[in-house]
């Protein structure tokens, strides 16, 4: 049974006892305020914040029918305590949780400070302690701490007895604001009783109230219920859908475990099929097709040919080049600039922790997420090149792309690693990261993304490890890699499915599928090991987290313009990431060629361009079909549609045209332009979804708009990390065999 609070705005006298009582009980400091805007009367503070869980909103509404011609309506604004709250669904560590009594409470000990709850709440309730070096989330918890207080030892020197205990418990079970309310505007009780009470009041005073109990149906029902004499829109209450927000993300997240099993099996099947096809083709050609990672020879081979370590297989095709370190001077002007940017990035990172996130960033309760999250989402999308390439090369046996495999993986590894670093800076309480391992929420996209990205980084690392092994001749480790990486894949995938499903059947299914794949694709005696399990894991995990990044925004149908918001977002995100990832690889390779004055491997790039074309096409078709199906095409022409059109036309249609034929794709100019526009389109998409396409109302009651432009430190860290990625990529290819040797 949920306990709720009924707020009758017709009774409230605006005395603000609730505001101060809340501060007194919760030990919240005062805010420094100034005279509010004239429409706000005496309203102060203007917004909810980490220092104010309750704000009495003042409204002065002209109304000739009201005594004095003015309706002075006071509205206590606070957490709505949804029955099925978006913030709880969002929280990756169950820090935000529903209590037995219906309150939405917060456990600071678990919180990692991701602020997804702030982004998810349709009312702008959770706020962050921007002044603190350990900025926790703050919000009303219906005084959950009061009900557990013990009976005082004595009153006026006389011991209290059990009879006192009962009345004491009753008093303490109410939130302090309700208990201290002088006017009777607040009433605490069970949700059902209060709904009846509200209906009784509406019935007994016909014409007094508008025919709407705000909170009865909003967001699937809330435990803060309002009665009003004026329409709620006039009081600044947002129109909120009646469907609980977590429904959408629950569907998306619920499909993750079966998707893992399914995608794994599919990829395995595809590999088997392509392997077979390759074998048949090889047999026809009379040669043995060997696709390899940089493979150490089998022990036997190694024993006999111990001098030539890691020598490439003897039977080579032209599409199966060697790799070699690039020899180029490190301290070029460009690299010096990159180093300087990295230096500033490093300093910004340091200052972020010394001075606090609130001090160093321009993030706010309105813009709880800013540049860093955009940066993360954009980079994860464009870093999709790694999994797409690995998948193409290994699973779909696109050996023609082999030569760009290593650079794709290195780029991916660096990108993902630095996304993780940005997250470190962005999280309010990154040292609570272990909470992600100790709590598993039901349907949190953030939890899924966190685990998925984390595991994927390890997979990327494993994918890349053979390169340093090869470079530095670490045979023993290479052996271990060969032996254990498939095992790791099975374990990681099973763990992942367990965390997401809590269902041993799904875990078993995952273990069986991936176990049998590992067994089936095991490196047999005399065979060169193929990192197929890593590739399958990489593609599976990427599919999951790329799509889950879309799921993150499923909780925000009331904020995100429906030109972007759709239950299909997870799929769109995945499809667009493939397009962006492959297109970015084209750009990276072009940049490499240009930077080191190497030959442009136009054939491979054209092939990547083709993949980009098709994935972009599917993405755009799916997206437009979805828009049409939902009847949202009419939103084009409305607000934000410039952004949408830029994305679809310049970042979708135009690259599709530029990449449409082999002829066009084989021209480096059009290929580069097409790839660039495709990447830009997806980048813009991510920016739109995260922020630009949103109607951010800010902290309740949204009476003061807040603007955002990233601070110099936010830019510092983001730009510094981009610089680091480029710099380290350059460093990597200089020292390790990542790129094929330049054919002269």
């Amino acid at each position: 049974m949920s306990n709720a609070t009924l707020i009758d705005t017709t009774v409230c006298i605006g005395c603000r006892s609730c505001q101060v009582s809340c501060k007194q009980w919760n030990g919240l400091p005062a805010e420094h305020t100034t005279l509010p805007d004239n429409k706000l009367g005496f309203q102060n503070p203007k917004l909810l914040s980490a220092k104010s869980f309750v704000v009495i909103q003042h409204n002065e509404i002209e109304d000739a029918a009201a005594p004095g011609g003015v309706r002075n309506v006071f509205v206590k604004r606070q957490c709505m305590h949804c029955e099925d709250p978006a913030c709880v669904a969002a929280c990756p560590v169950t820090a935000m949780h529903k209590t037995e009594t219906g309150a939405v409470a917060y456990d600071a000990a678990k919180c990692i400070g991701c602020r997804y709850c702030m982004w998810a709440c349709p009312w702008g309730v959770p706020t962050a302690q921007w002044d603190s070096l350990a900025p926790k989330i703050s919000k009303c918890d219906r005084c959950s701490s009061r009900s557990t207080q013990q009976l005082p030892a004595a009153r006026n020197g006389e011991r209290l007895v059990m009879a006192d205990h009962k009345s004491y418990q009753k008093i303490m079970s109410e939130p302090v604001c309700v208990k201290q309310c002088p006017s009777g505007a607040l009433k605490s009780g069970s949700r059902e009783e209060l709904l009846q009470e509200a209906k009784r009041r509406m019935h007994e005073h016909p014409g007094k109230y508008v025919d709407h109990i705000y909170g009865e149906h909003e967001a699937g029902g809330t435990n803060t219920l309002y009665l009003s004499a004026v329409p709620f829109e006039k009081l600044g209450f947002p129109k909120i859908q009646t469907e609980p927000f977590p429904h959408y993300s629950a569907i998306a997240l619920g499909s993750v475990p079966p998707a893992v099993v399914g995608v794994g099996a599919l990829l395995g099947g595809a590999y088997k099929l392509s392997q077979r096809r390759a074998a048949v083709a090889a047999a026809e050609e009379g040669s043995v097709a060997v696709l390899d990672a940089p493979v150490p020879p089998s022990p036997k081979v190694k024993a006999s040919r111990s001098v030539e370590k890691y020598e490439a297989p003897t039977q080579q095709k032209e599409h199966h080049p060697k790799f070699a370190a690039v020899s180029a001077p490190l301290w070029t002007t460009a690299n010096k600039l990159l180093a300087a940017l990295m230096g500033f990035g490093g300093l910004s990172f340091l200052l972020r922790f010394v001075m606090g996130i609130g001090t160093t960033t321009n993030l706010s309760d309105t813009y709880a997420w800013g540049l860093w999250i955009i940066f993360d989402l954009v980079w994860i999308a464009v870093a999709a090149g790694a999994f797409a390439t690995a998948g193409l090369i290994y699973v779909f046996q696109r050996k023609d792309l082999y030569s760009i495999g290593r650079s794709a993986v290195l780029m991916g590894l660096l990108s993902y690693s630095f996304v993780t670093v940005t997250l470190l800076a962005d999280l309010g309480l990154p040292w609570h990261f272990y909470a992600l391992a100790l709590n598993s929420p039901k349907h949190s996209a953030m939890f899924e993304v966190s685990w998925c990205v984390g595991l994927y980084v390890t997979i990327l690392l494993l994918e890349f490890l053979p390169v340093p092994f090869e470079r530095w001749g670490l045979t023993h480790y290479a052996e271990m890699w060969k032996k254990y990486s498939p095992v790791y894949v099975v374990a990681a995938m099973s763990l992942f499915v367990f965390l997401l499903s809590h269902n041993l059947l799904w875990v078993a299914a995952t273990a069986v599928v991936f176990g049998s794949l590992a067994y089936a694709f095991r490196t047999k005696e005399g065979e060169k090991p193929v990192p197929i399990m890593l590739a399958i894991a990489a593609v599976t995990l990427s599919t999951m987290h790329q799509s889950s990044l879309g799921s993150l925004f499923l909780l925000m149908p009331d904020k995100l313009n429906h030109l972007w918001w759709s239950p299909m977002m997870p799929i769109s995100f995945f499809l667009s990431s493939v397009a962006a990832g492959t297109a970015l690889m084209v750009l990276v390779e072009m940049w490499i060629a240009k930077a080191w004055n190497r030959q442009l491997r136009i054939k491979q790039l054209a092939a990547m361009g083709k993949v980009a074309f098709w994935s972009m096409l599917i993405y755009q078709v799916v997206r437009l079909a979805d828009l049409t199906y939902r009847g949202n095409l009419n939103l084009v022409g409305g607000p934000k549609s410039t952004l949408f059109l830029a994305e679809v036309l310049l970042g979708g249609l135009l690259p599709l045209i530029l990449l449409s034929t082999d002829k066009l794709r084989n021209r480096s100019g059009t290929l580069g332009m097409g790839a660039g526009l495709a990447v830009a389109g997806v980048v813009l998409n991510r920016m739109n979804v995260v922020s630009l396409g949103m109607t951010l109302r800010g902290a309740m009651p949204q009476t003061t708009p807040v603007h955002y432009f990233p601070s110099i430190f936010e830019w510092g860290i983001s730009v510094g990390l981009i610089a680091a990625t480029i710099f380290l990529f350059g460093l990597g290819v200089r020292h390790m065999p990542v790129l094929p040797p330049e054919e002269s």
Partner: protein, 1013 residues
């Protein structure tokens, strides 16, 4: 959001500091999180009551290891039922505030800083100065109108404050100051509800709120006029809301649309200062349309009594006016008396000689049209209000300072009295004229007589021309003389005997021609007569009207002693902005006092509920309770005089002053509550008090507070309410005699049976032959039935025993004493009926009688030296009204030191209608320069639809509002609005006209922006 706001540059300058703060940042929330869950584990609870307004809300202090952990509303308290307003909810911070004073301080003449000193030094300095001042400025005899009288007085020492104190503190202030020989004893009531006591006394016999907070739930209609109850008496609004939930109609008449208006069913915008014109139009409408309660009027008022034939009223002046002295001879305002010196009574209301006929004649001038023309309220709305009041019974009048702070405040409240007597709304549950008192213990401080013209229990203070007790009795009656004797027995103990007139001669006597009010004291200081002022918890440097005079008066003192929680504007007056401290020669002592949660004692709320507060925690630092300071000081002084034989020092040496150090407050309360000197036991009530000196009672209206030897103010029975009327007889104790609804006999018919059976409160029980009921029956003798004269005295505290439509001069003969009256009815000196006059500074002419525009009894300017200018409407075209607000309280020294409250309202403002703002070219938030004939302030502008202009006498009148709660000390500073206000006062009550004066407003240039004094 900008980087600037986050002040990163500031922080970046010291990464080390940042790191240190970082460590705190990690720890603080962690501690917080772990303590909240077990916050109240093992705490001790102490019950207390709030120290802001006079609602008297119960509070619970949670104390652990001597620390105040939490403070919230007492859920078992009958008035607030656990609730608190924003100010009350913020109260916990006052105990722990860094701003609290912790050590005594001394400021030498001309010094620029305070010096901390020890208590010993402080006591020595104060006592020594009192002694030298007293000795050097003693007036043993005084010549008044050619007669030499012994007066035993000094006018060089004044005491100020008491409404912030407990009853016990106040009682000792009263007692000590009079024993020292000063009658210059005043407290906050002078500035706020000064007019209530004389006005309500003139109508009903007692000067207090007739009903009580809980009783408001029974009302069917409220006329809230001159009160912003939703903001300033929030717990009062709680009970009004309860009535409203049951269908009661709330009428709010106010110049300003406030949070009270937002809850009203009818809101009438009235021009500030025109209330009497409106109220009289309502009363006239009720009279003309016979909407009054005829049975009630005949039975319970003086309507049928024959008024004197020579009573007249012409052109704004009543008969008996003496032009030169601004004074009335009241002889013609009385009744035609019969052979027994009792008023003669008519058979019918139609008798043209009756008070009622006079009333109708007087009122007939107040047509709806005239009322509307003067007040700005539309005719239809006046009519609607009159009809609504007449139709719905019982109806309750709620007022506060909007009614009192005028030069005719007493008369405005008289309107309420007349209205409610006509409607039969006095003495009944849900009725009444409810004076919402503003300070926590302003009622108690009045009861204890921290006012120059009273002795405890509203006994008139003896004047020089009343040299003996008998002389005093001649003008006050034998009924009250008895209580005087009891007071003297408490003050002088065995040294008060019948032979020595019970010590009457030892009391200092007032000079009736002198002004001992707070304004008089300041003017006396300016004239060099008042040398030393002792201020206890009052802050005249913010709250006095026309502050400039106060500034100058303070600087003229030789010594100022301030006993307070904070460094107030008064304590720091010598270094206010714009003065050079070196030029100010006043010695100042600042003594750190204890706040309410740090001390024992009682307070009396507006509903006369006397409740005990327990000391929950120790005062911070070296701060001491007021009562301890007073006790130590008095004993020290007495020791200084111990060998004196000078008759002037007799009162000090003969006084009974032997209080224990432990349980001091309770011992004082025992003295207040009365003792049977034969048995040594507490008396059980007023009826036990004797005139022969065998009983002693410090404050007769509190007799019985220790009934049965128990401190009844500690009672907490919130369950027993036998009549269901919200009386709770077992919860604390209400004066007089635990009576909750005054004049409740008037709820019965002639036979003593309840007129409204559904709301019976008292009745004559024929079987038991006594008055009975849910409340203490308000009858002279409980066994005197309706068939006896005592059974027909519903307003027994009036000489004539009935409610007074005409405040007639009347002495009730004492059947036992030939030449002495039994009781004397009180008459306000500015008129027996309430006539409309304009404020001293008015935007318009007096439409009733242009030649007598303002109250003819007002003397203003009082000072001939230019400090009392009167602004003209040509130079100052706008009406300024001032008040307190929900979030800040009075002088603001408590609330402006509370960050939580400063957050709610951070700065003072001037609130104006959009039309005026447009005219002045002012936008919301811009600085306005507000000037009056007396001063100037610059504050931010609030432009709001809640303010509107009015059409008055055919012209548009614009009004503005400013809160008066700011000053130059505390965490939130701002200019004091009282620099602008006028200190013209009500001629009866001495209360200033802060509700209406004239100002001009211009846009302040930006470089002058920011608030300054």
């Amino acid at each position: 959001m900008t980087i600037n706001r986050r002040q990163w540059l500031k922080r970046a300058t010291g990464a080390g500091v940042g790191l240190a703060a970082g460590a705190l940042g990690f720890e603080e929330p962690k501690l917080h999180a772990s303590t909240k869950k077990e916050k109240l584990e093992g705490v001790q609870e102490f019950t207390s009551a709030c120290n802001f307004c006079a609602c008297g809300c119960g509070m619970i202090c949670h104390v652990k290891d001597g620390e105040l952990i939490n403070l919230e509303g007492d859920p078992d308290h009958v008035i607030n039922e656990g609730a608190l307003c924003a100010k009350g909810a913020a109260m916990s911070a006052t105990h722990t505030s860094d701003q609290r004073l912790k050590k005594p301080r001394y400021r030498a003449p001309g010094a620029t800083e305070w010096t901390e000193i020890s208590w010993e030094e402080a006591f020595e300095k104060v006592a020594r100065k009192i002694k030298t001042t007293r000795d050097a400025n003693w007036i043993a005899n005084e010549n008044i109108k050619g007669v030499d009288y012994q007066v035993n007085r000094t006018d060089a020492i004044g005491f100020l404050g008491g409404a912030q104190n407990t009853n016990e503190d106040c009682y000792l202030i009263t007692k000590a100051s009079r024993l020292l020989g000063t009658v210059s004893v005043e407290h906050q009531a002078r500035l706020c509800h000064g007019p209530s006591v004389p006005s309500l006394s003139a109508s009903f016999g007692r000067g207090a709120m007739t009903n009580h907070w809980l009783d408001m739930q029974h009302s069917k209609v409220f006329l809230i006029e001159g009160s912003n109850v939703a903001e300033n008496h929030i717990m009062g609004m709680k009970w009004i809301k309860k009535a409203q939930e049951k269908g009661a109609i709330v009428i709010h008449v106010d110049p300003r649309f406030t949070r009270t208006s937002s809850s009203a069913d009818i809101y009438a915008r009235i021009r500030a200062g025109s209330d009497i014109a409106f109220l009289n139009a309502v009363i006239n409408y009720i009279l003309q349309h016979k909407l009054y309660d005829e049975e009630y009027v005949k039975l319970n008022t003086n309507a049928l009594l024959h008024a004197k034939a020579d009573f007249e009223f012409n052109d704004g002046i009543f008969s008996g006016f003496e032009d030169e002295t601004h004074h009335y001879d009241m002889a013609s305002w009385g009744y035609e008396l019969d052979g027994t010196k009792k008023p003669s009574k008519a058979k019918s209301l139609d008798d043209p000689r009756t008070v009622f006929a006079n009333l109708k004649k007087f009122y007939s001038r107040y047509t709806l049209e005239l009322g509307s023309q003067i007040s700005g309220i539309p005719v239809e709305q006046i009519k609607l209000i009159a009809e609504t009041m007449a139709k719905h019974k019982p109806g309750c009048v709620v007022y506060a300072l909007g009614a009192t702070q005028h030069t005719y405040g007493v008369q405005q409240i008289r309107c309420y009295g007349i209205l409610q007597l006509l409607l039969g709304n006095i003495g009944v549950p849900g009725g009444g004229v409810n004076a919402l008192r503003g300070e926590p213990n302003v009622q108690g401080a009045c009861d204890m007589a921290v006012l120059n013209h009273y002795l405890p229990g509203y006994l008139s203070y003896p004047n020089a021309d009343q040299p003996t007790m008998k002389d005093w009795t001649k003008s006050n009656g034998t009924f009250r003389a008895k209580f005087f004797v009891n007071c003297m027995k408490s003050w002088f103990g065995d040294n008060a005997t019948a032979e020595n007139d019970f010590g009457y001669g030892m009391l200092p006597k007032r000079n009736p021609g002198k002004d001992y009010t707070i304004y008089g004291m300041m003017e006396s200081a300016l004239a060099g007569r008042l040398k030393m002022l002792y201020v206890i918890g009052q802050n005249p440097m913010v709250t006095n009207a026309n502050l400039k005079v106060t500034y100058e008066g303070m600087a003229a003192l030789e010594m100022l002693v301030v006993q307070d929680l904070w460094e107030t504007e008064t304590a720091d007056f010598w270094r206010r902005p714009g003065v050079n401290p070196k030029d100010i020669k006043t010695e100042v002592l600042l003594l750190p006092a204890a706040y309410f949660m740090e001390k024992d004692g009682t307070l009396t709320g507006a509903g006369r509920l006397v409740q005990w507060r327990y000391a929950a925690v120790n005062p911070p630092g070296e701060a001491k309770t007021d009562i301890e300071i007073l006790d130590v000081l008095f004993n020290k002084l007495r020791a200084m005089y111990k060998d004196s034989t000078d008759p002037k020092d007799l009162p000090l040496l003969k006084a009974k002053w032997d209080y224990p150090a432990k349980g001091l407050s309770e011992a004082v309360l025992r003295e207040i509550g009365g003792t049977d000197l034969k048995t040594g036991l507490p008396v059980n009530g007023i009826a036990d008090l004797q005139a022969d000196g065998t009983t002693a009672c410090g404050v007769w209206i509190y007799a019985g507070v220790f009934k049965g030897g128990k401190n009844l103010t500690k009672r907490r029975d919130n369950k027993t309410d036998p009549g269901g009327l919200g009386i709770y007889p077992g919860f604390a104790w209400t004066w007089p005699g635990n009576m909750h609804v005054l004049y409740n006999r008037a709820s019965c018919d002639a036979k003593g049976q309840p007129r409204d059976k559904d709301r019976a409160i008292v009745w004559w029980d024929e079987t038991q032959k006594k008055w009975a009921g849910w409340d203490t029956p308000d009858v002279p003798v409980a066994t005197d039935g309706p068939d006896t004269p005592n059974g027909q005295r519903p307003f027994r505290m009036n000489g004539e025993g009935v409610g007074r439509l005409l405040a007639a001069s009347y002495m009730d003969p004492d059947p036992k004493e030939k030449d002495l009256p039994r009781d004397v009815s009180y008459v306000p000196k500015d008129g027996p009926f309430p006539e409309f006059y304009e404020p001293i500074e008015s935007p318009t002419a007096n439409a009733m009688h242009p030649a007598v525009a303002t109250n003819p009894c007002v003397k203003y300017p009082r000072l001939k030296t230019g400090q009392h200018p009167i602004g003209t409407r040509e130079k100052f075209p706008y009406v300024l009204m001032t008040s307190s607000m929900a979030e800040h309280w009075c002088c603001g020294s408590v609330t402006r030191n509370s960050p939580w409250l400063n957050e709610l309202v951070p700065e003072p403002v001037v609130e104006m209608p959009e039309k005026l703002a447009t005219k002045l070219g002012l936008k919301h938030g811009e600085h306005a320069r507000v000037t009056s004939a007396r001063g100037e302030v610059i504050v931010k502008t609030v432009v709001t639809k809640r303010m509107q202009s009015l059409n008055i006498n055919g012209e548009e009148v614009m009004s503005v509002w400013m809160p008066y709660n700011w000053g130059f000390k505390g965490l939130s500073t701002g200019p004091s609005t009282n620099l602008l206000t006028i200190d013209a006062v009500d001629p009866v009550a001495g209360t200033q006209e802060t509700k209406a004066c004239l100002v001009n407003i211009v846009r302040a240039s930006d470089e002058n922006g920011g608030s300054h004094v």
